[in-house]
C-alpha cells in the first residue's frame, strides 16, 4: 500500500515538473496564434476557431527578422564548421600522440574550459575596436570558435579508442589524416553527432557576445534583434498598443525558438548525452 502511494507520488511529481517545464513553451506557441487582444483579456483560453497568423504578419513588418535569420545562419555555419572540423583533430592529437609541450598545451585547454564569455566581454571588445572589427562577421565568428570544451570532450571520446586500431592503420601505411578519417571518425560518429547538436544550439542561442560585438542592424543575429525589440517595447517606442505589441513579440519568439525546438525534437538522444558530458552553456 505504502509502496503504491510512493509510486503515485513519484509520478505525480514527475508529471507536474514536466508540465511546468513545457507550459511556458506551449503557451508561447499557442498564444502567438491568438488575436493580440485575446492574449491580454483571456490568457488561458485557446479557441482553435479564433486562431490567426495576423501576429506573424505584423511582426514581419516591424522587424527585419529575415536578416536576423540570415546572419545567425552564417555564423552558425562557419563558426560551427570550424568547431566541428578542428576540435576533434586537436582532441585526436591530445589523445593519441606524444609530443613535447603536450602537458602544457592540454593545461591550456583545461584553463580555458571554464573561462566564460562574460569575463572576455570587454577584453574582446577592446581588441575588436583596435582591429576595427566591431560590427563585422569575423567578430561574431572567430572569438569562441574551436572552443576548449569541444577539444576536451573529443579528447576524452577519442582516448577510448584502442591504440591497436590506430596502430594497425599506421602499419598499413595510412597517413595521419587518413588514419583520422578512416579509423577515428567512424568510431566517434555518435560523439560527433552530439557535439554537432550542442554546437548548433550554443551558437544559435548565443547572446552575450553578439550583443556587445555588433552595433548595427545589418549584422545583428536573431537573438540580438529580438532583445532590441523587447528594449524598444520597454522604452515605449512601439507605441502603447499592447494588443499588437505582445502578439508580435510572441510571434517573433516562437519563430526564433522554432529551429532549436525542431533540432531538439529530432536529435534529443544526442543532446541528452551531450548534457551528461556537461557541455551546454547556461
Amino acid at each position: 500500500m505504502n509502496a503504491r502511494l510512493g509510486t503515485i507520488g513519484r509520478y505525480a511529481l514527475l508529471v507536474t515538473v514536466s508540465l511546468v517545464s513545457l507550459a511556458p513553451l506551449l503557451w508561447m506557441v499557442a498564444s502567438a496564434f491568438k488575436p493580440g487582444a485575446d492574449v491580454i483579456a483571456r490568457p488561458f483560453a485557446f479557441d482553435p476557431a479564433r486562431f490567426t497568423v495576423q501576429n506573424f504578419h505584423q511582426m514581419l513588418h516591424t522587424i527585419p527578422i529575415g536578416t536576423g535569420f540570415r546572419n545567425t545562419a552564417l555564423v552558425v555555419a562557419i563558426k560551427g564548421g570550424l568547431t566541428m572540423v578542428f576540435c576533434p583533430l586537436a582532441g585526436f592529437a591530445f589523445a593519441k600522440y606524444e609530443f613535447p609541450g603536450k602537458r602544457l598545451l592540454f593545461a591550456t585547454v583545461l584553463a580555458t574550459l571554464m573561462l566564460p564569455t562574460l569575463v572576455l566581454l570587454i577584453p574582446l571588445l577592446l581588441e575588436m575596436s583596435e582591429l576595427h572589427w566591431v560590427s563585422t562577421f569575423q567578430a561574431l565568428i572567430l572569438p569562441g570558435a574551436v572552443d576548449a570544451f569541444g577539444v576536451f570532450w573529443m579528447r576524452q571520446t577519442i582516448a577510448a579508442i584502442p591504440d591497436e586500431l590506430i596502430d594497425a592503420a599506421r602499419v598499413d601505411g595510412a597517413s595521419d589524416l587518413r588514419t583520422y578519417r578512416s579509423v577515428v571518425v567512424p568510431v566517434i560518429r555518435p560523439g560527433l553527432a552530439a557535439l554537432g547538436v550542442l554546437t548548433f544550439i550554443n551558437i544559435y542561442n548565443d547572446f552575450v557576445w553578439p550583443v556587445v560585438a555588433v552595433n548595427d542592424e545589418q549584422h545583428q543575429t536573431l537573438q540580438v534583434m529580438l532583445a532590441a525589440l523587447a528594449q524598444n517595447i520597454r522604452a515605449g517606442q512601439l507605441g502603447a498598443d499592447w494588443t499588437s505589441v505582445w502578439g508580435q513579440l510572441l510571434a517573433a519568439s516562437t519563430v526564433a525558438a522554432l529551429p532549436v525546438l525542431l533540432v531538439f525534437i529530432l536529435l534529443q538522444r544526442h543532446l541528452i548525452k551531450g548534457v551528461m558530458a556537461g557541455s551546454l552553456k547556461g
Binding site: L14, S21, W27, L115, A230
Partner: protein, 311 residues
Amino acid sequence: MTMATMTAPAQATEAQVRGTAPVRRRRRRTSPVPYLFVAPFLVVFLGFSAYPIGFALQLSFTNWHGAGVLRFTGLANYRYLLTSSDFWGSMVNSGLLWLLVVPAQVLLALVVAVALSRSRLRGPFSASLIAPFVTPLVAMAQVWIILFDKDFGAVNHALAAVGLPAAGWLTTASGARITVALLVLWRTTGYAVILLMAGLTSIPAQVYEAARLDGAGAWTQFWRITVPLTTRTVSFVVVIGTLTVFQLFAEPFVLTGGGPFNATRTAGLYLYKHVTNSDLGLGAANSMLLVVMVFALSLASIRLLRSREER
C-alpha cells in the same frame, strides 16, 4: 575575407601532412603532425582569449575611454571599483539571486532526480525537463515579460482567479529578483536533474535494499543514503549553478534592464554598463576582478570533476 583566412591553414595542414607522412611510430618526437592538429585551437586561444586578456590587463591601469589620450592611472580603477557602492551593489544583487536560485534548485533537482531514476519513461520525462534549457534565452525572457506583466500578465490573471492580489513582478525590487530567479530556475533545473541522474545511477541498488530491510523509510533513505553518496555530483551542480548565477547577463538584460532601482543589476550587467558609458579602462579592471573570481570557482570545479572521474 574571413572564409579565406580561416580555410588557408586547413589546406596547409593537409598538404604538409600528406607530404611528410610515411609510416610513423607514435612516440617519435620530431613529428609536426600533432602540432598541426592542435594549431587551430591554439591560434584561436592566443588570438581571442590570451591576447585580449593581456591587453585588457594593460588597459585596466589606464583611463581609456575608447578614444583620446591613453593615461596611465595606476591602481585607480581597482581602487574605485573596490570602494564603489555600485560594484558591491551588483555583487550583492548577484548574491541575492544566488540565494534565490541555487539552494532551491539543488533540492528540487535532487528530489526529481531520485523520482526519475526509479521510474519508467525516463526518456520522455528527461526530454521535457531539458527542453527549457535549449530554447533561446532571449525568446523566453520575452515570454516572461508578458506572463509576469503587472496589469495584463497571465500570472496575475491566475492569482486573481483564486482571489489573490496582483503582484508587481517586474515593478518592485523583490518582485523583479524573484521573477529573474524563476526564469533561471525554470531554464536550468532540468539540466541539474540530468547531471544528478548520472551520479544517482552509480549508487548500487543493494544499499537501498539493505536500508529498507532495516526499516528505513523513503525520507530516511533520501537523507542518509542518496544525499551523502551523491555529495560530489551535488557539489558539482552547486559550482555550475554558482558560475551560472554570477555570470547572469541575458536574463536581467532582457527582462528588467537591471531595474527597478538597479535591484537586478547583476555583476554581468554592471560590467556592461562600463561599455555603454565608454569607461573602458574601468571595464577592463572590472573584467580582471571577475577573471580572478571565476578562476577561483573554476579551479574548484575542475578539482571536483577530477575527483568525480577518479571514482
